[in-house]
């Protein structure tokens, strides 16, 4: 390439290019600007090159205006579940929106019914009895009351049932014997009988109910 034919008498091409592209130091820029005022050849060249640059920039801007990034790795914006649902709902037809609304309403009703039923189960008498706490005096009263009621019932049945079935099984005999005794002469209930009776009367929870233990010590006090 023959570049010599382009060179002017003034050998300041380097400075001209550096100043033209703004890469000269402030001192060099100042010096060259002073030179431009004195050298018509350099001044014309500087102006001509500035014009060429403007034309090239127009082409560049035009070319880059239509530039569309085509990254091999596409940016994938992840939507949140809520945003995705919203956009899906917005795009869906009216009948689908109505259907979704009805389905949600039915679901809510069933949910409410299920919740109420579960509350009823929780409030069952057995649970209440198991959950209830008896004081020692209350427990004694309750046991005594239950024993009295049992005795009264036994006395009313004694005349008929006791004589007719006197020859029956040994447990029946023992029951009759207990029932026939007057309150004063009656043998006190054994610890096991008290526990059994209390459990039968639901005054305390059975050992297999909700893991509650019998308050045996309190009963025997």
């Amino acid at each position: 390439m023959n570049e010599d034919f382009l060179k002017q008498d003034c050998q300041q091409q380097d400075e001209l290019i550096s100043v033209l592209y703004g890469e000269a130091s402030p001192e060099d820029t100042k010096q060259f600007q002073t030179h431009l005022r004195q050298c018509g050849s350099c001044a014309r060249e500087y102006e001509a090159f500035s014009g060429v640059r403007s034309s090239v920039h127009e082409l560049r801007d035009l070319a880059l205006a239509g530039f569309q990034p085509q990254s091999p790795v596409q940016r994938v914006e992840r939507k949140s579940a809520r945003a995705a649902l919203t956009s899906f709902f917005n795009l869906s037809p009216v009948w689908m929106k109505l259907g979704t609304a009805v389905a949600i309403a039915v679901l809510c009703v069933f949910g409410f019914i299920g919740f109420m039923k579960s509350k009823q189960v929780v409030n069952s008498p057995l649970k209440e009895a198991a959950a209830r706490m008896y004081s020692e005096a209350e427990l004694k009263d309750a046991v005594a009351r239950a024993v009295n009621e049992a005795n009264v019932a036994a006395r009313s049945d004694h005349g008929t049932v006791g004589s007719v079935q006197a020859e029956n099984s040994s447990d029946r005999i023992s029951v009759n014997r207990i029932q026939s005794q007057s309150p004063k002469n009656r043998r006190p209930l054994s610890r096991y009988e008290r526990q059994q009776l209390a459990a039968d009367l639901r005054l305390v929870a059975r050992p297999d109910e909700d893991g509650l233990e019998l308050l045996s010590d309190r009963i025997n006090q």
Binding site: Y21, V52, V56, A65, G66
Partner: protein
């Protein structure tokens, strides 16, 4: 330079197997590489293809990047080689076909809204003249002027990318501008 540090870090991440890292390099440099390719080739579709090929070649040769030069310089060198290869392949095609493509391409420029038809034609003629003038420059001059005017690289960055002395960059740029000035004047005279 912050970009340099980041680029190197990103390339390290890509080499370590981060699948997103190279995409980041592409996003960062594709506009500039497209500008370089467009300036070198003069056609948008060709420039787009060359840009994609540049990044594909860079990805394939990622392990060959030794970190001695900047990532930008490395990419520019690949892009320039891609453009030169494309031009060589284009020369194999008939001149008439190339001319047809150029004419078709010239018509692709969208007319800015609000301009009169005569102004649009004048503007299109001018940009087409500049494009032809750039295309007619020798490759070594074209590279420098495109890197400077389209990509706005510094003299030092161009010198690193092309592996030439700083003074050569300046002298090539001076010569390129001088030749462009002469060619544009000739186009202007032909038009009148």
């Amino acid at each position: 330079m912050d970009t340099l540090t980041n680029d190197e870090t990103i390339v390290e991440r890509a080499l370590a197997g981060d699948p997103e890292a190279f995409g980041e390099i592409v996003r960062r440099w594709e506009r500039r590489i497209f500008a370089l390719s467009y300036g070198m080739l003069g056609r948008e579709d060709e420039a787009r293809d060359a840009t994609q090929e540049t990044f594909l070649a860079a990805f394939r040769n990622l392990r060959g990047f030794r970190g001695e030069a900047k990532v930008s310089s490395w990419l520019h060198r690949i892009a320039v080689n891609q453009c030169i290869s494309r031009q060589r392949r284009a020369r194999v095609r008939s001149e008439s076909a190339i001319e047809d493509e150029e004419e078709r391409h010239a018509a692709q420029f969208a007319a800015p809204v609000g301009y009169s038809p005569s102004h649009v034609i004048e503007s299109q003629q001018e940009t087409d003249a500049v494009r032809r003038a750039i295309q007619s420059l020798p490759v070594e001059l074209r590279q420098v002027v495109i890197m400077k005017e389209f990509e706005e690289l510094t003299f030092r960055e161009i010198a690193e990318a092309l592996d030439i002395p700083l003074s050569t960059v300046k002298s090539r740029l001076y010569t390129a501008l001088k030749q462009l000035q002469m060619r544009l004047n000739r186009f202007a005279n032909d038009a009148t």
